[in-house]
């Protein structure tokens, strides 16, 4: 038994390494923050913890400028506001509670991924461990969580949705879906894929033959009803509670801001240059393509991909949906890449990227190269003050977009080529 085989076939070793990696980064982060004016901790973490402090003083988290999240997050990080040691843990360590929570989210996500791979995809523990390590031992993932970015928390919610659906716990899935959308809006796209994945009554019953009522009844299966109702109720209850306590600023910062924001500052999105160009112009001055940007994005991530792919492989469909959503989004930063990375362990085992290693390596190189070129142009703009908007950043973002579309084409084609599972045997 080789060393790697021994490592990956023992989950305790894999998870031990993942936890150690995060602990090491947490301690390193504390050291760097205490000794260097350049901080390890992400700016967003200071926003979260400031918002928690406002809450602990009976104020609104939205009193902190640029807090654009649900108050739930600030409440979750309440222990970071402790000013005295508690449970024999000093206050300065409590300040890192949020990072520990986000890192723990990573670990739980990894555990769910491993279980699903072993139990649902019937993979051997060693092979499953290798694919899980793409998430657990991914330095980018560990780095983002330990710097205090909340994406790790979102990943655990999203993978838990998948886990609950595949295990047939649809009420739980509905609650998690409602929670996920409340947290960060974008998980609503998974409602579409889970919906299609559940039952196929609509195909059997056609309008006209048995009438509208029966058709609706057939479409709205018990499972779908449970999912829709539970997610909607969870979503609305959370919103009502937050609105009751924090009023209009909750809607303003948690939703309206994200739906209407036009991020003019340079980011990976292909639309970025045109957003900068047109947001400065007066409104309604001619045709603005970015106002139609939601069409390809929603068409792919909410309609076409779930419809054609969900029944083949739900996890890979969620990957394709997220990939399409991020690629066609009007704003895109590297944290968004985590949103789809979490699904890679489910898709890669049967992908042509792995079957044809040269293709896989080529895709990885292009994906990294696209970012590198963009980052190089962005660095010139941000720190050297060179005006690289056009053609530099413009071409770099188009290139990166093209690479992403090409990869998404491969993913979509892979998933669509999977054999359809026999009907009626999904939920056990």
């Amino acid at each position: 038994m080789s060393l790697t085989t021994a490592f990956f076939s023992r989950p305790s070793l894999l998870f031990g390494a993942a936890i150690l990696l995060r602990l090491a980064l947490l301690f390193y982060g504390r050291w760097q923050d205490a000794n260097s004016p350049m901080k390890y901790t992400d700016i967003d973490y200071l926003v979260f913890t400031d918002a928690s402090r406002f809450i602990s003083q009976g104020q609104s988290p939205y009193d902190r400028a640029t807090y654009r999240y649900t108050p739930l997050l600030a409440w979750l990080l309440y222990p970071t506001t402790l000013t005295h040691s508690a449970l024999a843990i000093p206050a300065s360590v409590w300040f890192d509670f949020g990072k520990v929570l986000f890192a723990a989210g990573d670990i739980v996500t990894g555990w769910l991924i491993l279980r699903l791979l072993v139990e649902k995809q019937g993979m051997g523990v060693e092979r499953a461990g290798k694919f899980t390590s793409l998430w657990l031992l991914n330095p980018m993932v560990a780095n983002i969580s330990t710097r205090g970015s909340s994406e790790g928390l979102l990943a655990v919610i999203v993978v838990a949705i998948l886990w609950a659906v595949l295990l047939g716990r649809l009420r739980l899935a509905g609650v998690l879906l409602g929670l996920g959308v409340h947290f960060k809006i974008y998980p609503f796209i998974y409602a579409a894929s889970v919906w299609w994945w559940l039952g196929d009554g609509a195909k059997r019953v056609r309008i006209g033959k048995k009438g509208l009522v029966e058709w609706v009844g057939a479409v709205l299966t018990k499972e779908r009803r449970a999912l829709a109702l539970d997610s909607l109720v969870t979503f609305m209850v959370l919103n009502s509670v937050m609105f009751y306590f924090y009023g209009v600023p909750f809607f303003e910062h948690s939703y309206r801001y994200h739906l209407t924001r036009i991020d003019h500052r340079h980011n990976f999105s292909v639309y970025n240059t045109v957003l900068y160009l047109n947001s400065a112009k007066a409104a309604n001055s001619g045709f603005q393509i970015e106002s139609l940007a939601f069409i390809p994005q929603m068409f792919l991530s909410v309609l076409v991909l779930p419809y054609f792919l969900a029944k083949k492989d739900l996890a890979s469909t969620m990957l394709a949906q997220t990939f399409a959503f991020v690629t066609f989004n009007k704003v895109c930063t590297s944290q968004y890449f985590l949103w789809y990375m979490v699904f890679l362990p489910f898709y890669l085992p049967s992908s042509s990227l792995l079957r044809k290693p040269r293709l896989g390596v080529f895709a990885l190189v292009l994906w990294s190269l696209g970012q590198a070129i963009w980052l190089q142009q962005g660095y010139q703009l941000e720190f050297l003050g060179r005006s690289t908007f056009v053609p530099g950043l413009w071409l770099a973002s188009i290139f990166f977009f093209a690479v992403n579309c090409w990869i998404l084409g491969i993913i979509v084609s892979d998933v669509a080529s999977l054999p359809s599972p026999p009907a009626g045997k999904k939920i056990e």
């Binding site: 004016p37 400028a65 639309y271 393509i289 060179r386 005006s387 188009i398 992403n404």
Partner: protein, 518 residues
């Protein structure tokens, strides 16, 4: 109308009564070219142009302070400074009043200024008293030169009408207005309690000593009703710290036949640096390349900084920034970061502090910040002669450049030099700082300290070309708009079509297989 003219000579200047010659409506001073001049005219409401008079009815207080971008030497007792540009402080008499001050300001600094209304474009200063009945004071600033025609029209239009240029007073008035451009600073102060408006201009001797003969500034009494008081003064050594002493001659034109000698002392808010740190100046630079996060460096000689004017003094800088730049108050809250930049704390930040908004959605003029600097302690030798503090700034995105503006894809943004001073709280309750004929208050930064605070001003380096730095900011050019949009449109359509085609092909293949199997 009252005029007060003060010639201020450098300390220890020789001055004899024979240098002064009193005439019926003026005083001729032989050494005028070496003297700094302060001209203050005090006007009653009836002496103001109608538009201004109407406007002032709604004002409790109005202070306009314009400071030149040319470096200028100031002499005691007039040593207070402000960053170059026009600073406005307005206190409306009603709490909810929105006064039409922007029309007035646009006459002074041009139509393109960021001024729509007080509530939209001004910054509200923190309330001094908790009483809600006390109207707030609003601040506005623009880093630009001032139009002297506008100044004359708005404030002096009635006492110096263009048609009066054929009288003696008219010619004198005209000579003063014509040289307003050369002034180091111009102040306008109105207080509803006094119902008078003070218009003050200060010309530094170094500024125009050469051109003095040609500029031909003439001071005259304005007719029999007007009053003109002329002081020819120089600083003497003061007995008490916190006080300034002036000696010289005072003359009331038309009343005194000869100048009367005088020597008087008064407590002063603003002071030059004490002899222990005399000669210290500061220099402002912007780190190159400036990128989108320009760093503003303040360079001061280390040794004089170790000598505080008094034990209680702390070193400060006061910045006024245009709306294109902003300070991140959260960045300036980390102890280690502040230490590394030689800063103590951001003590006040008023105005536009949005961390994300681009310049084209900002309707306020910008922001003003007071930062305490970590002055070096004594006895730290061998750390280099110069000491540097750094204020991190951030740029907003600027509106895309119109296609007919040159070929550059950068735009110039001007950053005025801040001012640097020691602030020293005095415990001496006896010291009445208001009892000063040359007092200057409502400067923006003074209100952020207790009333009993002395300011020791560090002058900017004399070799500076101008008290403004300019950086080049990357901007997108609008003339590439067509190409940019087409490129993005083709990419999105192409990418979208590719994905759809891959999907359709795979789905179709699957169906084919399915049929075959069946």
């Amino acid at each position: 109308m009252k005029q007060r003219l003060t010639y201020l000579l450098p300390a220890n200047s020789s001055l004899a009564p024979s240098d002064l010659s009193v005439k019926a409506d003026r005083l001729d001073f032989a050494k005028a070219p070496q003297a700094h001049e302060e001209w203050r005219v005090t006007l009653g409401l009836h002496e103001l142009p109608d538009e201004l008079k109407l406007f002032l009815v709604g004002c409790q207080e109005l202070h306009l302070r314009w400071s030149s971008r040319r470096p200028h030497v100031l002499t005691p007792p007039l040593v207070s400074r402000l960053p170059a540009g026009l600073h406005v402080f307005l206190t409306p008499s009603g709490v909810e009043d929105d006064l039409p001050i922007c029309n007035l300001l646009k006459k002074l600094v041009g139509d393109e200024s960021k001024c729509d209304s007080v509530h939209e474009s001004f910054a509200r200063l923190p309330a001094v008293s908790e009483s809600p009945a006390q109207p707030a004071t609003f601040q506005w600033y623009q880093n630009s030169s001032i139009r002297r025609e506008g100044l004359a029209e708005v404030f002096l239009g009635k006492i110096c009408p263009p048609s009066s240029a054929n009288s003696d007073w008219g010619r004198a008035c005209d000579s003063l207005i014509r040289t307003l451009d050369d002034a180091s600073h111009v102040d306008v102060d109105f207080d509803a309690a006094g119902q008078t408006l003070d218009f003050t201009a200060y010309w530094s001797a170094e500024d125009d000593a050469v051109s003095r003969e040609s500029s031909g500034r003439v001071y005259r009494k304005a007719g029999p009703e007007g009053r003109l008081e002329v002081g020819v003064l120089h600083a003497e050594e003061a007995k008490d710290s916190g006080e300034l002493s002036l000696g010289g001659y005072l003359t009331v034109i038309g009343e005194d036949e000869r100048p009367s000698a005088t020597l008087f002392s008064f407590p002063s808010r603003h002071h030059p640096l004490p002899p222990t740190s005399a000669g210290a100046t500061f220099k402002t630079t912007i780190q190159h390349p400036s990128g989108l996060h320009p760093k503003l460096h303040l360079h001061l000689p280390r040794q004089p900084l170790t000598q505080r004017p008094q034990e209680t003094c702390t070193l400060h800088t006061y910045l006024t920034l245009p709306s294109t730049l902003f300070i991140d108050r959260f960045q300036l809250s980390d102890r280690l970061f502040l230490d590394s930049q030689n800063l103590v704390s951001l003590q006040s930040l008023i105005g536009e502090d949005d961390l994300e908004a681009p310049d084209w959605v900002i309707r306020r003029w910008g922001s003003a910040a007071l930062v305490e600097l970590a002055a070096p302690g004594a006895g730290l030798d061998g750390e280099g002669e110069m000491w540097t503090a750094t204020i991190p700034l951030h740029l907003r995105y600027l509106s895309p450049l119109l296609s007919d503006v040159g070929t550059d894809s950068t735009a110039g943004v001007q950053i005025p030099w801040p001012i640097v001073f020691w602030a020293c709280e005095v415990e001496d309750a006896e010291l009445n700082l208001d009892n000063n004929p040359f007092d200057r208050v409502d400067l923006g930064f003074d209100g952020l300290f207790t009333p009993q605070t002395l300011f020791y001003h560090v002058p900017p380096a004399g070799d500076a070309m101008r008290l403004v730095e300019e950086i080049q900011v990357p901007v997108l050019r609008a003339d590439s708009a067509g190409l940019v949009q087409i490129g993005i449109f083709l990419a999105v359509v192409g990418g979208f079509a590719w994905i759809c085609w891959q999907l359709a092909r795979a789905v179709d293949n699957g169906k084919g297989k399915g049929k075959k199997r069946r």
